[in-house]
């Protein structure tokens, strides 16, 4: 739990200084002026509690806490920030929605607000205001944010889930860069295994990395859980092809990926055990943060690079990046303050610095931020600039609503891949189990 008090304000100030663009006083001045002009006036004596996923990049959290502190100072709204690990945000939000009490704002994953669209506040006014001011929302942000003609959440940021690899190790395996097609990518994985420096993707119940790669794989071969009308079409030759491909990849993975959650590949990669994996740019960011004091980490940072996902027989990119929507709960007694806070975070004076602080871990949902210096300052981060535009949405061809959210939360696709890869069931059985489950979710 993080209460904003003198100490955290000081910490926030230090962070703002580190980020560099504006002094704490400057930020506060902007915040005060903004609060005067903003269309949302916080309720008297308003208190806001935000529950967010626990940061993966320290400087991202520092920048976030700095803007929270500035908002609190300028508006007089007492702010409390709670941090929960990524997988725990959803159950907490579900229980809060169920019982009608809890934090005012939730900052969660994918289509979380679509699990309880009637329990969150309509934020169409905030979305329109920001969209007009900052060059419009990217299409996937509209898909994630809207339900029934109105905005129920704002995708505050995306997390590009890209291939992380060690330049020297793929070179040793005979590749200059990560191949751009699935066949070439399999060759690379085989070659890496042959050199005894295997890569691997998480196949445990990892809501971020696990879901990202299995959906990429399914879609890359033209498989889909449902069609555009939400009819279940998972039992298809394309799905079988995707599973066969995954089986071949898995045979060349480092052992143990079936038990990995979201943090395992970070640890393994940083310790030098893993040559290639899928992740946000947080591995690189961690290496970079320690590069000054640890020569090993410096070497790691120099050797790490990022690539976009290969394109499969489907013929177009089929990436699945993480979306982080923020929503206001209907039971909140400070809804105007919450709206003001959401708008405040996405204003250029705050958001630009937040993007810089997150060193590429977060990607913007508003077009105007393409020009943010973080995308050009380090060429290794440039791949993440466009992830919000490239990503497909939860549910694939189908709707992004509560059924897609349910399929994701049930690990429907992930478990199908994991059953096949670990050899627990045959491809045919895994597909029919997933089909039966999908039909119930999409009935």
């Amino acid at each position: 739990m993080k209460h904003v008090n003198r100490r955290s304000l000081l910490k926030g100030a230090a962070a703002a200084g580190a980020v560099g663009a504006m002094s704490q006083a400057g930020l506060l001045e902007f915040a005060k002026a903004w609060a005067q002009a903003a269309p949302w006036k916080p309720e008297k004596g308003a208190k806001l509690t935000i529950l967010r996923w626990k940061r993966f990049v320290q400087s991202e959290e520092d920048a976030f806490m700095a803007l929270v502190a500035a908002f609190s100072k300028a508006t007089g709204v007492a702010m409390t920030v709670l941090n929960e690990s990524l997988d725990d945000v959803q159950p907490k939000a579900s229980v809060a929605a169920n019982t009608g009490q809890g934090p005012d704002l939730f900052w969660g994953l994918y289509s979380l607000p679509h699990l309880f669209p009637t329990k969150v506040v309509d934020v169409t006014d905030v979305a329109t205001y920001l969209g007009k001011k900052y060059g419009g929302w990217v299409p996937s942000a509209e898909t994630y944010g809207r339900s029934g003609g109105k905005w129920i959440a704002l995708p505050i940021g995306y997390n590009g889930n890209v291939i992380n690899y060690r330049q020297s190790l793929i070179a040793a395996a005979g590749h200059k860069e990560v191949p751009k097609d699935t066949a070439g990518f399999l060759d690379l994985m085989k070659a890496l295994k042959g050199k005894n420096t295997p890569g691997g993707f998480a196949l445990g119940r990892a809501s971020g990395d696990g879901n990202a790669w299995v959906h990429w794989c399914l879609w890359a071969f033209g498989g889909n859980v449902v069609d555009a009308k939400d009819k279940v079409i998972i039992n298809s030759p394309e799905t079988v092809k995707a599973l066969e491909y995954a089986q071949q990849l898995y045979a060349n993975f480092i052992p143990g990926t079936a038990s990995w959650n979201d943090s395992f590949n970070n640890k393994a990669f940083l310790s030098g055990e893993l040559s290639l994996t899928n992740n946000g740019v947080s591995i690189y960011a961690a290496a970079k943060a320690d590069a000054g004091k640890d020569p090993k980490m410096k070497a790691m940072m120099e050797d790490t690079n990022h690539a976009l996902w290969p394109v499969g027989p489907a013929g177009k990119p089929t990436e699945f990046h993480v979306a982080y929507p923020m929503m206001i709960m209907r039971y909140s007694k400070a809804q105007q303050a919450a709206k003001a806070f959401m708008a405040f975070t996405l204003e250029a004076e705050n958001y630009d610095k937040w993007l810089i602080g997150s060193v590429g871990y977060l990607t913007h949902p508003l077009n105007a931020y393409d020009k943010n210096p973080v995308w050009t300052s380090d060429p290794k981060l440039t791949v993440c600039r466009d992830v919000a535009k490239r990503t497909l949405t939860a549910g694939g061809l189908g709707s992004v609503g509560e059924r897609a959210a349910s399929a994701l939360a049930d690990f429907l696709v992930l478990d199908m891949f994991a059953s096949v890869c670990t050899g627990r069931t045959t491809i045919k059985d895994a597909v029919s189990v997933a089909e039966r489950q999908a039909k119930r979710i999409y009935r």
Binding site: G204, A405, D429
Partner: protein
């Protein structure tokens, strides 16, 4: 004038009200004393249990209270348990029967239900039975050992209790590191000693994961059994052992004909608790594997939570999974209940 006072007609005694009579009535007094405990049980046990069972007959989703959910009868159970899917062809049946291909006979008929639920039931039963047997064997062995005159006996007894004292989540995280696919101390030691060439895949392979989870559970559950049985052992009168020594009984005979019979009632109680705790285990699996890989270690409790809360939708279905645990638990309680009433269990005598 005392006389006048005496003659003053006494204020008529108020006839006792019904309430005041009930307050002092001996038969009702017991009821009053029982009331707080009963209220507690109803509020925190019976009501949630009934609510859970009621939810299991609805299609309630998160955010819906029971009143506004649709009653759908046993649909949740039908979905979970499934139905027989038989492709019964006489020709295939005879050819397999006479072809000696008995294994394939079963393939003619299979249950099509929720695969994850079936797996969770299997996992739960396997986990409970294997872990309980191991815990009992090791616990009893430790108890007998600690009952002997050892040096530093008090210290050793205290140490034995440690796994039981550590919060489950902490010990689960410790095991999580021990079983880590890349950084496991066990794998590392095995490699250093030349016993293995690569890391052991503890949690990434279905059967390895099951055994690893059982190992962690046993480690955690043994102290409870060992210490309770030790307490039981100390109630066995030493005179019995002295007498049997004079009769020339071997150590095994002493255990078999004195210790074991006198310990039976305590064993029954302890094992009932142990089985119940293991059957409803949640924290350890949630932290250690989260049911993975691909549901291989999913227990009914974790599956219920995943469906009802984490899946964020189907409270009704999750409640049905929880309710499906009740028959198993009830069976276990009934066995020990009736067992405890039998004299053989109570006193270890042969006549019932």
């Amino acid at each position: 004038m005392p006389e006048a006072v005496l003659r003053e007609p006494a204020a008529p005694l108020k006839p006792p009200t019904l309430l005041s009579r009930l307050m002092v009535n001996r038969d009702w007094l017991g009821f009053w004393f029982m009331l707080p405990a009963a209220a507690f049980l109803v509020l925190f046990l019976a009501y949630p249990l009934a609510l859970g069972i009621a939810y299991s007959f609805t299609d309630a989703k998160i955010g819906q209270d029971i009143g506004s959910a649709n009653f759908i009868g046993i649909e949740n159970y039908q979905w979970l348990i499934g139905e027989f899917d038989c492709k019964w062809e006489w020709a295939a049946f005879w050819s397999r029967l006479f072809g000696g291909d008995f294994g394939a006979l079963g393939a003619l008929c299979k249950i099509v239900g929720d695969d994850q639920f079936h797996l969770a039931v299997f996992n739960t039963l396997f986990y409970t039975i294997v872990a309980s047997v191991l815990k009992f064997a090791i616990g009893l062995y430790l108890a007998v050992l600690l009952n002997n005159h050892l040096p530093f006996r008090a210290v050793i007894r205290a140490i034995v209790l440690v796994p039981f004292i550590v919060p489950t989540v902490l010990s689960a995280i410790a095991f999580w590191w021990i079983f880590d696919p890349q950084f496991s101390i066990v794998s590392w030691s095995a490699k250093q000693m030349g016993l293995a060439t690569e890391n052991i895949n503890f949690l990434g392979e279905p059967w390895n994961a099951r055994w690893s989870a059982i190992f962690a559970n046993v480690w955690r559950g043994v102290p409870f059994i060992a210490i309770t049985l030790l307490a039981g052992l100390q109630t066995v009168p030493p005179s019995l052992y002295e007498a049997s020594t004079i009769d020339g009984a071997s150590r095994w005979q002493m255990f078999r004909y004195i210790t074991y019979p006198l310990l039976t009632p305590i064993i029954a109680v302890v094992m009932t608790f142990s089985v119940l705790f293991t059957f409803t285990d949640f924290q350890l699996i949630k932290v250690l594997t989260n049911g993975g890989p691909a549901g291989s270690t999913e227990l009914m409790a974790t599956l219920s939570f995943n469906r009802a809360i984490l899946g964020g939708q189907r409270i009704g279905e999750g409640a049905a999974i929880s309710t499906a645990m009740i028959p198993f638990l009830l069976a276990c309680i009934l066995i020990s209940w009736f067992g405890l009433q039998r004299r053989k269990w109570q006193q270890g005598e042969a006549n019932d």
